[in-house]
Amino acid sequence: MIRVENVSHRLGERLALDGISVSLAEQRVGVIGANGSGKSTFARLLNGLIVPDDGTVTVDGLSTSREAREVRRKVGFVFTDPDAQIVMPTVGEDVAFGLRGSGLPKPEIARRVTEVLGRFGLGGFHDRPAHLLSGGEKQLLALCSVLITEPAVLVCDEPTTLLDLRNARLIGHLLGSLPQRLVLVTHDLAVLADFDRVLVFDGGRLVADDRPAGAVAYYRALMG
């Protein structure tokens, strides 16, 4: 259970989040809103990337401010731009990076890397330079690099925004089929159709919290 209680947060002079309270227990939760509405700031609260100015955020009872390390092990985060989250020069090494310092023996790390790359269609990419991948392949790599640590929750901040339609659909389909609890920030309203719940943000406030059809209708009306 993710609990966000009375959270407000400023980014510079701007009030990015204003008195947000919500509990998330569903398997798949969508977050939508206009640019600057606060949805990305909300997503960053969930794995402790941002500690709120006011209020508290807990994930399965762990506080994101006091137990950030434990929270980050539990909550994986996928960003919009995969280039910014690829750390190592080759595909296999980047996926293995998440397990450095985990104490796992090298053969076990290698086995897990091979397994996760195969699962996401990157089986033949192990030794390829990461910078030579296509945008879709880079986002798949970013996903693999997060999932190899086996997080219980996956938060994705517009992971398909920079992708073409085919890759956006592929990533959207893969995210929907993961066993992890998913919080997906997106502008792609179609992908939310079979989600359990959708939150709508506007001006830093949570203005709608409903099943997908109701939330999307509200959002469309809000956008005029």
Partner: protein
């Protein structure tokens, strides 16, 4: 075959090889060393184009170096100096081509291990090295994008005009990378350090 040799052995071999190159002061010895380096590339199965790519960035530096050495010393010394440099870089390139970055980082972290006592974090040093290697294609990509944006708007592309927009985008990338590293737990103290 070279790929399977442990990174530590290869790095030690590289240090020894470069030391030998520096000690060789006659052209016959350097000619023999050239054959050895060619042989190592052949054994490693590195394609000629990739092998040449390791030393191509040195081209203009070698031309200048050769000219200066010709003026200051003789042709034999000039050729020897340039050949030593080229062979050294070729050897380093061969180690890079046949060794995973993570394996090299492991060696660096092991070597820096004793410095933990004075507060140095070898894993952080290794991470910085990895990010430096990863940063080369990223910055090249940013520079290419900014250059194309200038061309698309009909502007004359001059290197100093690109400097500020490239720098701004590199700093933004660094911000995003820092956030991603935090999200991936790289900023957390390892177990036992807390």
């Amino acid at each position: 075959m070279l790929h399977r040799i442990p990174a530590g052995v290869k790095l030690t071999g590289l240090a020894a090889g470069i030391t030998v190159l520096l000690l060789l002061d006659d052209l016959r010895g350097l000619a023999a060393a050239t054959f050895v380096v060619f042989g190592l590339y052949a054994v490693a199965g590195v394609p000629p184009r990739l092998a040449l790519a390791q030393i191509r960035p040195l081209l203009w530096f070698c031309v200048v170096l050769l000219a200066v050495q010709l003026l200051l010393t003789g042709w034999q010394r000039a050729v020897a100096v340039v050949l030593t440099l080229v062979l050294g870089v070729a050897l380093a390139g061969l180690v890079t081509l046949t060794t995973r970055v993570t394996a090299m980082l492991d060696v660096v972290e092991t070597l820096l291990g004793p410095l933990r006592r004075v507060g140095v974090r070898p894993d952080r040093v290794g991470l910085v090295l990895a990010l430096t290697i990863r940063g080369v294609p990223v910055i090249a990509g940013i520079a290419g994008t900014v250059r194309d944006a200038h061309r698309a708007r009909g502007a004359t592309v001059r290197p100093w005009v690109l400097l500020v927009p490239v720098l701004v985008r590199v700093l933004r990338h660094a911000d995003a990378l820092g956030e991603a590293l935090t999200a991936r737990g790289a900023d957390d103290d390892p177990p036992g350090n807390v």
